[in-house]
């Protein structure tokens, strides 16, 4: 064929024009839900772009040869032993010998809970309810920072770059007392007596873009876009006068906030900072406190002998919130990019995926235990288990053992439970649960563990953990739908929050939000004693991703969750509604349930902050919307629902409106 003829053939060729409407619709929903539209703050940039910037920086400093030519062999490494570097040069050599910058794992870096992570009280049941609700935490006595806190009289909350103190009780007198404006973004708070701890993340808060141009602090370089280094400020305020909070101290570090906990008077903050080389020098972590800057010397940095694609300094800072002049203590460990953390009363467990040679090829999780006690921070042990950890609820410490649930994904996915001793050696395991499925939620409660795996139907597994050498599967229950979050009701009942699904054989369509009440008193035959399904496909609740949005109180039989309700317009599907059809958002607010094993789940009522529902339908699409209820709590007999726009107060008995406080001016 001649050149021209081939051109003509190509020009006249009939090419396929095919569309997959299912894919088109699903991808659209996934994109709109991907979190990009949720917050109008600079966190967007920081969270999404910082890892990119890091990667670019690595390219910049290492040169392209390092990118293309992998270091062929990592140095021979011994067991997972903890040591400190003998010198700065040793640190430098270690990084050079072990970091395999062949590809950029930033794609896989999972940043930890940012504006609120996960969840509930442990197997210690809600203490005889005081007269107000605290943040739903995982381990009793280990508080987790959140965007809303109360002390039973005041509500403290953060929104964008503001921290607001509201007089909340009695509700008739509710009003904003004061407001702290930060330069950066407020990402979480703790309240401890008269001390308010605020975590502020830099770069500067940048309210919103009306323009496509990047924020002023992003600069372009020849390799791409460089973001400023992120930093974290920990600010402690004296709020003994709630109308006039006074900044008592400020401690800062370069890097990114990973997570924090408060145990007794001490706040522990975990910060990650990438290790990079510039002009042949490695950066070292720095702490700023009371105007003094301290560079942590290489000889103070712990490391575990593991090879990784790249390294992060993970710094843990302990601050006594009550004693302003007590210097903070801190320790830095050289690790990979940690992906999850679990904190018991005495230990911080950091986990991160161990990468194989290819990006994405990670079959193992490395675990590090750091002992904490007051101001003491001491890395003590490390170990490894097969598989990946889903979130903090996949981990637990009980009676001198650490338990973890993981999923391996090579070939057929499989799920496992490992029990490790305090030296992080595996003592017992239960492997290969639910082949083909993956863990959606996990919960450890003393000598029992619960696991929800999912592919088409939801098996809830009950696992006996009483013998740390021999965990056993006791029974399981298969129902439609799955739970993203499991919360103990009492020792024999569990609450599950997730989605309903329709079984389509090979796969399943997610439907509305599902709340289940499980009876596990017969461990061999767990039962679903009641369930409630809210809305159609497209319905969502923040509880599915963040346990702090969940409010439960057993003594009050109270369960409250924020929900965005979507409904399918049946008139659009005259031939019957197909199960893949997405609904349109029609309502957002808090669902209030009465819950008990005897009466099951009963909807008591719903509370919304939206004044104009038409606006929601037209505009909402899950993006940032100041009238979305994000949290709820109670003080005495008053239910408080909180959005960025307002705090609304309703009578817990009958949900009658009492009062509200405007937060936007």
């Amino acid at each position: 064929m001649k050149h021209e003829d081939l051109i003509q053939k190509l020009e006249n060729l009939e090419t396929p024009e095919i569309e997959l409407t299912g894919h088109k619709q699903a991808l659209k929903m996934a994109l709109l839900n991907s979190g990009h539209f949720k917050k109008r703050t600079i966190m967007y940039w920081a969270k999404i772009l910082a890892p990119v910037a890091t990667a670019l920086l690595l390219i910049a400093v290492l040169g392209l040869s390092a990118v293309i030519e992998p270091e062929p062999q990592p140095a021979l490494l011994g067991e997972n032993q903890i040591s400190r570097f003998a010198s700065y040069e040793e640190l430098q050599d270690f990084i050079k010998a072990n970091a395999q910058y062949t590809a950029f794992p930033w794609r896989d870096v999972v940043l930890l809970d940012v504006s609120g992570a996960v969840k509930g009280e442990g197997f210690v049941y809600a203490p005889a309810a005081p007269d107000y609700a605290t943040t739903n935490i995982q381990v009793a006595g280990v508080d987790e920072a959140d965007i809303v806190k109360t002390d039973g009289k005041y509500i403290y909350l953060v929104s964008g770059n503001r921290t607001i103190i509201v007089k909340a009780y009695p509700p008739a007198q509710a009003q904003v007392l004061s407001e702290i404006e930060l330069e950066g973004t407020a990402i979480g708070i703790f309240i401890n007596g008269d001390r308010l701890v605020v975590f502020e993340e830099g770069p500067p808060y940048y309210p919103y873009y009306d323009d496509m141009s990047p924020p002023p602090f992003v600069r372009e370089s020849y390799i791409g876009y460089i973001l400023p280094e992120t930093s974290i400020n920990i600010k402690v305020y004296d709020v003994s006068n709630r109308e006039n909070p006074r900044l008592q101290r400020e401690i800062s570090a370069d890097g990114q906030y990973v997570s924090s906990r408060m145990i007794g008077n001490y706040t522990y903050v975990v910060i990650n900072e990438p290790v990079y080389e510039q002009d042949d020098e490695l950066n070292l972590p720095r702490i700023y406190s009371g105007g003094n800057e301290t560079e942590i010397p290489a000889t103070d940095i712990y490391y575990f002998d593991v090879s990784d694609y790249y390294y992060m300094y993970t710094t843990i800072i302990a601050i006594n919130t009550q004693v302003d002049n007590q210097e903070p203590t801190y320790e830095t460990i050289l690790l990979g990019a940690s992906s999850n953390l679990y904190v018991s009363l005495n230990n911080i467990y950091l986990t991160f995926p161990v990468w194989g040679r290819d990006v994405g090829d990670f079959g193992k999780t490395s675990i590090h235990r750091i002992h904490i006690e007051g101001a003491e921070i001491e890395p003590v042990a490390s170990g490894e288990v097969p598989g990946m950890v889903l979130n903090q609820f996949s981990m637990d410490e009980y009676d001198g053992y650490f338990r973890v649930a993981t999923t391996t994904r090579e070939g057929t996915s499989r799920n496992h439970i490992y029990i490790l001793d305090m030296a992080l050696n595996i003592t017992g395991s239960l492997e290969n649960l639910a082949p083909g499925e993956t863990i959606y939620s996990a919960r450890f409660m003393g000598e029992r563990g619960y696991l929800v795996t999912f592919k088409q139907v939801d098996p809830l597994f009950v696992i006996d953990l009483s013998n740390p050498r021999d965990p056993k599967e006791l029974g399981y229950l298969k129902v439609t739908g799955y739970s993203d979050y499991l919360h103990p009701y009492d020792e024999n009942h569990l609450i599950g929050i997730g989605k309903e699904t329709t079984d389509e054989g090979e796969f399943a369509w997610y439907q509305g939000v599902k709340i289940s009440l499980f009876d596990v008193s017969d461990v061999n035959n767990p039962r679903e004693i009641d369930k409630e399904i809210i809305g159609h496909r497209g319905t969502d609740s923040p509880v599915l991703r963040n346990h702090k949005a969940f409010l439960f109180d057993k003594s009050r039989n109270l369960l409250v969750i924020p929900v965005l309700v979507a409904e399918v317009d049946q008139s659009k599907h005259p031939g019957g509604v197909p199960s893949w059809a997405y609904g349109e958002p029609v309502w957002q607010g808090a669902y209030v349930f009465h819950i008990s094993p005897d009466a099951g789940l009963r909807l008591e009522g719903r509370i919304t902050h939206i004044e104009n529902l038409a606006e929601l339908e037209q505009d909402y699409y899950y993006f940032y919307y100041p009238f979305s209820v994000t949290r709820s709590l109670y003080i005495d007999d008053v239910l408080y629902t909180i959005s960025d726009a307002k705090i609304k107060m309703n009578n817990l008995e009958n949900l009658d409106y009492i009062n509200e406080v405007q937060l936007l001016y």
């Binding site: 190509l10 396929p16 839900n33 141009s213 369509w509 991703r545």
Partner: protein
Amino acid sequence: MANIDLSEEKELVRQAQKAPVAFAKLYDQYYPQIFGYVLRRTANLEAAQDITSETFLKALRKLWQFRWRNISFSSWLYKIATNEINQYFRKAEYKKSVSLEELQEQGFEPISSHNPESELIEAQEKLKQHQDFLEIQEKIVRLPAKYQEVIALRFFEQKQIKEIAEILGKKEGTIKSLLHRAVEKLREAD
């Protein structure tokens, strides 16, 4: 292919970063083109779904960089898609970014398993009917990526040389000579 008016597009892109409604509109506009392009490059429905997903996810993430590059939005999407396709051909297994999987774990089913089965079967059948195309496509994918790109963009996507230059970030003269050589190579392969 219907195009949005340019000034409207500019406005949409400006808004798309903060307003999902605007992003959704851009998506609706360009999804068929991008999916079609990827499908015609790969002749594989599964891959076309994965790559299209990646393309739009990356586009959403990088939206803020867009105006700096000073190319049309459609060209920019084609550029991202082209990079993704090349990656797909380079690797035995196309790695989807974890972010998308994470998204799925947060409550979205795997996007590729999203189609009613009947739709997928129907699409597969439709694809098979284009025998002439599939034959030549098979030869094209054996050419180096730089030739595949220009042939597909020129003949299947019916892009102007100027647009191809924009998408591939090369000079128009370069595109012309690449195109000439690409057709030559394809002819030799015949």
